[in-house]
Amino acid sequence: MAHAHSDHPAPAILAEVNPAPLPRATLVENHRSLNWVTEKICGIIEAPTPKWWWIAFAVSGFLALFTVAGIAYLVSTGVGVWGHANPVNWAWDIVNFVFWIGIGHAGTLISAILCLLRQKWRTSINRAAEAMTIFAVVCAGIFPVFHVGRVWFAVLPGYLFPFPNSNAIWPQFRSPLEWDVFAVSTYGTVSVLFWYVGLIPDLAILRDRFYRSGNKVKSFFYGLFAMGWRGSNRHWSNYEMAYLILAGVSTPLVLSVHTIVSFDFAVSLLPGWHTTIFPPYFVAGAIFSGFGMVLTLMLPLRAIFRLEDLITQYHIDCMCKIVLATGTIVGYAYGMEFFIAWYGSNPYEGFAFINRAFGHYAWAYWIMIACNVITPQFFWFKKVRQNIAFVWILSIFVNVGMWFERFVIIVTSLARDFLPSSWGYYSPSAVEIFTFFGTFGVFGVLFLLFIRFLPIMPMAEIKAVMPQADPHGGHDKH
C-alpha cells in the first residue's frame, strides 16, 4: 500500500473545485425598493413634528441650561468654583473633554475606516454616527476652552490659537497641549466637511420633494446647501473620488486625535500617565466608548422610526462585536499597565497602580473594570446580541465605564503624586456636576435638531449597496 501511489498519480481529492457559496449579509431586509428607501428617510422629515420630539427637546433644552449657567458662573467668578485644588489641578474638565472626544471617534471610524475596509453595513448608521461625532466634539470643546477661566484669552490673542498676544509671544509648540488644539480643531472641521459632503445628494432629494409639494421656503434652504446637485454621473465620479480621499485622510486623523490626547498625559513624567501604551490604548478606548454611544442612540431611533429593515440584526451584531473587540483590547491594556508597573521596578509607578486599585479611589477603579472589561464579554453570546433592550442597557454601562476610566487615570495619578505632604482627595463641586450633566442636554438638543431636519441615513449610499444597484443584474438575488 505504501508504494501504491508511485504506480498511478494520486487522484485529486476533489474532481473539481466548487467554492462554497457564502451568503452575503442582507443589508436591507424584505426586498425593499429604491423608492421605499427615499420615502422612509424623507418621510421622517416631511411628517409633522411628533409629540415625543417636543418633549425630548424641552427636556434637553432645560438640561442644556445647566451647562450655560455653570459656564456663566465660572466665567464671572473664576475657576475656583470648580473643585480643583493642589495637587489635583486637572479633574472633571479634562475627564469630560476626553470622554466626549472619545465618543466622537466611533463616527469617524464608521464613516472613514469602515469605508476603506469596504464594510457595506456602515451605510445605514454612518450619517447619524457622524452627527454624533460633531456634536460630541462640540461638547468636548466646551471644557478645554472654559477651563482656562479667562476664556477670551483662550480663543483670541492668547493661550490656545496662534495669535500674537500683547507681549507678542506665540504659543509653545513643544507642548502636547498645543498639539491637541490643532488635533481637535482639525478633527472637528474635517468631520463637518465629511458629513456635509455626504449630505449633498440627500439634500438635493429633499430640495426637489419640497419644491414639488409646494414648500418653497424649505426647498430654498435645502437647495442652497445642495449646491445644485443633479445626480450627474460625471459629478458622481469626482464626488466618489473626493469621498474616498476624505475617508483616506480621516483615517490617520482619527487615530492621531486620540493619540495626541493621550500625549497630554503620556509626555508628562507623572507615574500612571508616563506610559508608552497610552496611544493605542486611548484609541481603542475611544472606539469602544463611541460604539457604546452609537448603540445608545441608534437602538431607540430604530424602534421609534421603525427602521428594522435598514438597521438589521446583522448591523447590531457587527456593532456589538466591535464593542467586544475594543473592550477586550482595553481590558488587555489595563492588565499590561499593571504588568509593566511591576516589571519596570519603578517604585513610584508600582505605587500608582496599587493605589489605583486599592487606594481611596478604588470604588472608581472597580466601576471602571466592571463596566469596561466585564460588560462587553456578554456580546460573545448571540442570544445577548439579539436581545435589543439588553444590548441597550449594556451600551449605557460602556458609556459609564469609559467616563470612569478617564476619571481614574487623571484623578488617581494626580491625587497621589511624588510628595506625600501634598497628597489630597478631589471631589467635584456642584458647578462642575451641573456643567457636565448639562452637556448631555447640549448634545441632545443638537441631535434632536439633526433627526428633525436632516436625513438620518444616507439614502444614496444605502441604495448603492442594495441588490438593485448591481449593474450586472445581481445573479444571486431575485
Partner: protein, 177 residues
C-alpha cells in the same frame, strides 16, 4: 419663439439598463451627454468613457501646502519671531513640529479635496435644464436617465431618439434650455 432645445432625456428603470444604454451612447461617439442616477452606479464611469477623476491632484497640492504651512509657521513663531527658550531645547526641530504639521496636512487636504470636487463639477450651479425638468425627482430617487445634449456635434434629434429607443429607453422627452 419657443424655448430652445437643450437635449433629450430618456428614462431607464434599472441599473443594468442604464449601464448598457451608456455603453451604446458612448460607442455612438457622443461627447456632450450624461447619465442621471440616484447613486453612483458601479462601473458606469467605464461604460460612459469617463476618465479617472482629477480630484487627487487638488488633494496633493493641499496636503503639501498644509505640511509646509505647519512647519514654517512653527519655525517662524518659536524660532524666528520670538525664540522661546524651553528646557534648553532647540528653538526648532521638525520632530516637535510634526504633530501640528501632520494635522494641518490633513486639514488642508480635506479643504482642497472638497474645493476640487466643486470646481471640477462646476458646482454650485443652481440653474440647470435637468433641474427644471419634472424628471429630476425620480432621477434622484429610483430611476436612471440618459441626457444627450443638443450642442453635441453629432446631435440629430431623430437619430438620437432612435439610438435611445434602441437602447431600451422607457420614455424619451425633450429638455428645454
Amino acid at each position: 419663439m419657443a424655448a430652445s432645445l437643450y437635449g433629450l432625456i430618456a428614462r431607464f428603470d434599472t441599473a443594468p439598463e442604464i449601464y448598457h444604454a451608456a455603453e451604446q451612447v458612448r460607442d455612438a461617439g457622443y461627447k456632450n451627454w450624461d447619465c442621471i442616477t440616484p447613486f453612483p452606479v458601479h462601473g458606469l464611469d467605464g461604460a460612459m468613457g469617463v476618465r479617472r477623476s482629477h480630484v487627487p491632484k487638488f488633494s496633493l497640492v493641499g496636503g503639501i501646502t498644509g505640511f509646509c504651512t505647519g512647519m514654517s509657521m512653527i519655525w517662524y513663531m518659536n524660532a524666528y519671531d520670538y525664540p522661546l527658550i524651553v528646557g534648553g531645547k532647540p528653538y526648532f526641530s521638525p520632530l516637535f513640529a510634526f504633530p501640528v504639521a501632520y494635522e494641518l496636512t490633513i486639514l488642508f487636504t480635506a479643504f482642497a479635496t472638497i474645493a476640487g470636487m466643486f470646481i471640477l463639477n462646476l458646482l454650485p450651479q443652481h440653474y440647470h435644464p435637468v433641474l427644471k425638468s419634472k424628471e429630476i425627482v425620480r432621477g434622484l430617487d429610483d430611476a436612471f436617465y440618459v441626457v444627450i445634449e443638443a450642442r453635441d456635434p453629432r446631435f440629430d434629434l431623430a437619430r438620437a431618439r432612435a439610438l435611445l429607443t434602441q437602447a431600451g429607453a422607457k420614455e424619451i422627452s425633450e429638455l428645454e434650455a
